[in-house]
C-alpha cells in the first residue's frame, strides 16, 4: 500500500511552466490524471517516476523522494507512452529480461504470470516487431507488473487503441486497483476515465484544477452556468415559459443541421433549471423529447474549472 505525495511541485523548461504549484496525494486504487493535451500530465508522471527532478517542491513515495534513487523501482512499474522497445526480442523474452533485471528469485514464473495477467500467452513467443499497437501495450503492462509493484504509472495507455482493446485494458486496470495497488494513469479522453477511475486529479495548463471522486466533481460542475439543449413538441412555448420562470438568462432557437429545431438554454443555476423545466413543460402540456447538457466535453469542463 503506497501513497504518492506531491508537495507544492512546479517544473519549468526555460520560461515555459509545465507544472505550476501542484499538491496532491494519491492512494491505492485507480486514479485518473485527466487534462487536455499540454496540461502537464506527462511532466508530472515523469517526476513521480523519478525521471525528471521538480524545479521546486518534492515528489515522494511514502516520504521517499523519487528523483535519482533507483531503489524506488522495486515497488514501481512504468508503462511509457513511447513505443520504443527491443523489437528484436519476443514478448516473452522482454518480460523475462525485465524480471531478471529486478533480480526476482523465480524470474521465469513471474514472467509467465505477468504475461498470463495481460492475456498475451498465445502471442508471447512472436518477435515484438510483428505486434499490433494493442499487443505492444499489453506487453508493456506485463513488463511493469512482473515484479508485483505497489505503484503502477501509465502514460496515455489508451492512445490509439480501438474499443475492443480499450475495454480489455480497462478491466485489467480495475482488477489491479482492486488488488490494492496505486494505479495512476494519464488520459485526455473523458469517456475512458469516467468508467474506471475511482478518483481523478484534473490538470489544466499546469495547474491542479480539481481532485476527488469523479461523481463529486461532476456534481460540483453542475452548479456552474450551463449550456443545455432541449427538444420538445413546442419549443417556442417552452422558451417563453423558461424565460418567464426566471431560471435561465438566455434562450436561443436554433435550427439543427440535421433538420428540425432545438432550444439552446443558458441556465443560470443548473439546479433550479433542472427542477423547473419538467414542471413548466407539464404545466404548458409540452412534451419533452430530449434534455441534454451541451458542453460536457473535457475542455469546457476544465476551462470552467480554470476560470473559477
Amino acid at each position: 500500500m503506497t501513497t504518492i505525495e506531491v508537495e507544492a511541485v512546479s517544473r519549468w523548461f526555460g520560461n515555459v511552466v509545465a507544472v505550476n504549484d501542484v499538491t496532491m496525494r494519491i492512494g491505492p486504487g485507480v486514479t485518473g490524471l485527466l487534462g487536455p493535451n499540454g496540461a502537464g500530465k506527462s511532466t508530472l508522471l515523469n517526476m513521480v517516476g523519478g525521471f525528471l527532478p521538480p524545479s521546486t517542491g518534492t515528489v515522494a513515495l511514502d516520504g521517499r523522494p523519487t528523483w535519482r534513487d533507483e531503489q524506488i523501482y522495486r515497488g514501481v512499474g512504468l508503462v511509457p507512452e513511447r513505443e520504443g522497445m527491443y523489437e528484436a526480442l519476443s514478448g516473452a523474452e522482454l518480460v523475462l529480461a525485465n524480471a531478471r533485471l529486478h533480480g526476482l528469485p523465480d524470474a521465469r514464473g513471474a514472467a509467465r504470470r505477468a504475461i498470463d495477467a495481460v492475456e498475451m500467452s498465445a502471442a508471447a513467443d512472436r518477435p515484438l516487431s510483428t505486434y499490433s499497437k494493442g499487443m505492444k501495450q499489453r506487453i508493456k503492462m506485463a513488463t511493469a507488473l512482473v515484479h508485483d509493484p505497489a505503484v503502477l504509472l501509465l502514460d496515455e495507455p489508451f492512445n490509439g487503441m480501438d474499443p475492443r482493446q480499450r475495454m480489455q485494458l480497462m478491466d485489467l486496470l480495475s482488477q489491479l486497483g482492486e488488488q490494492g495497488r496505486t494505479v495512476l494513469f494519464s488520459s485526455h479522453i473523458l469517456e475512458e476515465v469516467e468508467q474506471i477511475a475511482g478518483s481523478i486529479q484534473v490538470m489544466v495548463a499546469g495547474r491542479h484544477a480539481a481532485s476527488g471522486d469523479f461523481r463529486e466533481i461532476r456534481r460540483l460542475m453542475t452548479e456552474r452556468p450551463h449550456q443545455y439543449v432541449v427538444r420538445s413538441s413546442d419549443d417556442r412555448a417552452l422558451a417563453a415559459a423558461v424565460i418567464a420562470g426566471g431560471s435561465a438568462f438566455g434562450v436561443e432557437l436554433r435550427a439543427d443541421p440535421a433538420g428540425g429545431g432545438a432550444l439552446h438554454v443558458q441556465a443560470a443555476d443548473v439546479g433550479r433549471f433542472s427542477h423547473a423545466l419538467p414542471v413548466l413543460a407539464a404545466q404548458h402540456g409540452v412534451r419533452l423529447f430530449e434534455v441534454a447538457p451541451e458542453d460536457e466535453s473535457l475542455e469546457s469542463v476544465f476551462a470552467y474549472l480554470v476560470e473559477r
Binding site: N37, G38, L190, R219, A281, L288, F289, E290, E299
Partner: protein, 310 residues
C-alpha cells in the same frame, strides 16, 4: 455518380487476408470507414491511391481505374496519413507550398492556395514556425492542409482525430464536416473513435477482418435505439419505481434506461410519464435523451451486444 466503387476487392499478404471480397459503392459526401485496428482500413486506402495492387477484384476512384490509372487518381485525390509524416526542420507554409508544387500547381497558385488553406484549417501565425515544435493538434491540421491545397475532388483522411484531446477533436470534426458540406469535396474518413463518426458522416461503411459488415447511411447505422436514458440529480430509485409503476420497463442504476415501444415520437407515452414523474417528485432532470444506437455496439464482443448486430 459514385465516388468510389469496388467489386470483389481482395488483398492477401501471404496467409493474412487484409481485404476479403469487398464490394462497396460510396456516394459523394462524407463517408465514414469504421473498423477495429487491423480491420483493413489502411490497406483499402493504399489500394484506392493506386499504391498497392489488389490480389483480385476491381476498384474505381472518381471514375478512374485505380490500378491502371493510379497517377491520374493521385492527381485528383488528397491523402492525410494516420501516422506522423511531417519533417521537423521546415515551417508549415514551406512544406505545404512544396507539396502543392509536387501536385502540379504553378508557384504563384501554390503560394496563394497554401495561405488560403492554412487559414481554413485554423493555422494562423504558427504557420511560419518550424513544424518540430508543433502540438499534435497543429500537426494534424498541417497534414489536412497538404491534402486540400491542390483542390482535390476526394480526400482520404486516415484517423484524423488520433491523439487529439476533446477540443482538438471537435475542431477537426467540424473541419471534416465543412470539407464535405462547404468545400464540396467528397471525404472518406476512417476512425475507431466511434462517437465522432455519427456526428460527421452521411454514410458509414463498417469493415471487420477485411470483410464488409454493413454499409448504410448514418441515419440507419445510428437509428435511435428504442431506449430513453434518464439522469436525475436525486432520488433516482424512487423515479425508477414510479416509472415501473406506470407500466414502463426500466433498468440501470445511476442512469435509468427506459424501454420505448419504438413507435414514432408522437404517440410514445414514456416522454410524458417521465416528465410528470420528475415534476411530481420535485427533483432535477439533468439529462433525458434517446440512447443513440452508437456504432460501438457493433464492436462489443458479440455475446454482450444486446442483439443489435446487423
Amino acid at each position: 455518380m459514385t465516388v468510389i466503387t469496388t467489386r470483389g476487392l481482395t488483398k492477401r499478404y501471404g496467409p493474412v487476408t487484409a481485404l476479403d471480397d469487398l464490394s462497396v459503392d460510396l456516394a459523394p459526401g462524407v463517408v465514414g470507414l469504421v473498423g477495429a485496428n487491423g480491420a483493413g482500413k489502411s490497406t483499402l486506402i493504399k489500394i484506392l491511391l493506386g499504391l498497392l495492387p489488389p490480389t483480385s477484384g476491381t476498384v474505381e476512384v472518381l471514375g478512374l481505374d485505380a490500378v491502371a490509372e493510379g497517377e491520374a487518381v493521385r492527381a485528383r485525390v488528397g491523402y492525410m496519413p494516420e501516422h506522423d509524416c511531417l519533417p521537423a526542420d521546415v515551417s508549415a507554409t514551406e512544406l505545404v507550398v512544396h507539396m502543392a508544387r509536387i501536385s502540379g500547381l504553378p508557384p504563384t497558385a501554390a503560394r496563394e492556395r497554401t495561405a488560403d488553406v492554412l487559414r481554413h484549417v485554423g493555422l494562423y501565425e504558427e504557420r511560419y514556425r518550424l513544424i518540430g515544435g508543433y502540438s499534435t493538434g497543429m500537426r494534424q491540421r498541417v497534414k489536412l492542409a497538404q491534402a486540400l491545397v491542390h483542390d482535390p475532388d476526394l480526400v482520404l483522411l486516415d484517423e484524423p482525430t488520433n491523439g487529439l484531446d476533446p477540443a482538438g477533436r471537435d475542431d477537426m470534426l467540424g473541419l471534416v464536416r465543412r470539407i464535405g458540406a462547404d468545400f464540396g469535396i467528397s471525404v472518406l474518413v476512417t476512425s475507431h473513435l466511434l462517437g465522432e463518426l455519427e456526428r460527421v458522416c452521411d454514410a458509414v461503411v463498417v469493415v471487420d477482418g477485411g470483410r464488409l459488415l454493413r454499409s448504410s447511411s448514418t441515419a440507419d447505422a445510428t437509428a435511435q435505439r428504442s431506449v430513453l436514458a434518464v439522469e436525475v440529480d436525486a432520488r433516482t430509485g424512487e423515479l425508477a419505481a414510479a416509472l415501473r409503476a406506470a407500466g414502463l420497463q426500466v433498468d440501470g442504476d445511476r442512469v435509468l434506461e427506459v424501454a420505448l415501444r419504438g413507435a414514432g415520437p408522437a404517440d410514445e407515452p414514456a416522454y410524458d410519464l417521465v416528465r410528470d414523474a420528475v415534476a411530481h417528485l420535485g427533483i432535477g432532470l439533468l439529462r433525458m435523451e434517446r440512447r443513440r444506437h452508437s456504432i460501438s455496439e457493433l464492436f462489443r464482443p458479440a455475446e454482450e451486444a444486446p442483439g443489435v448486430r446487423a
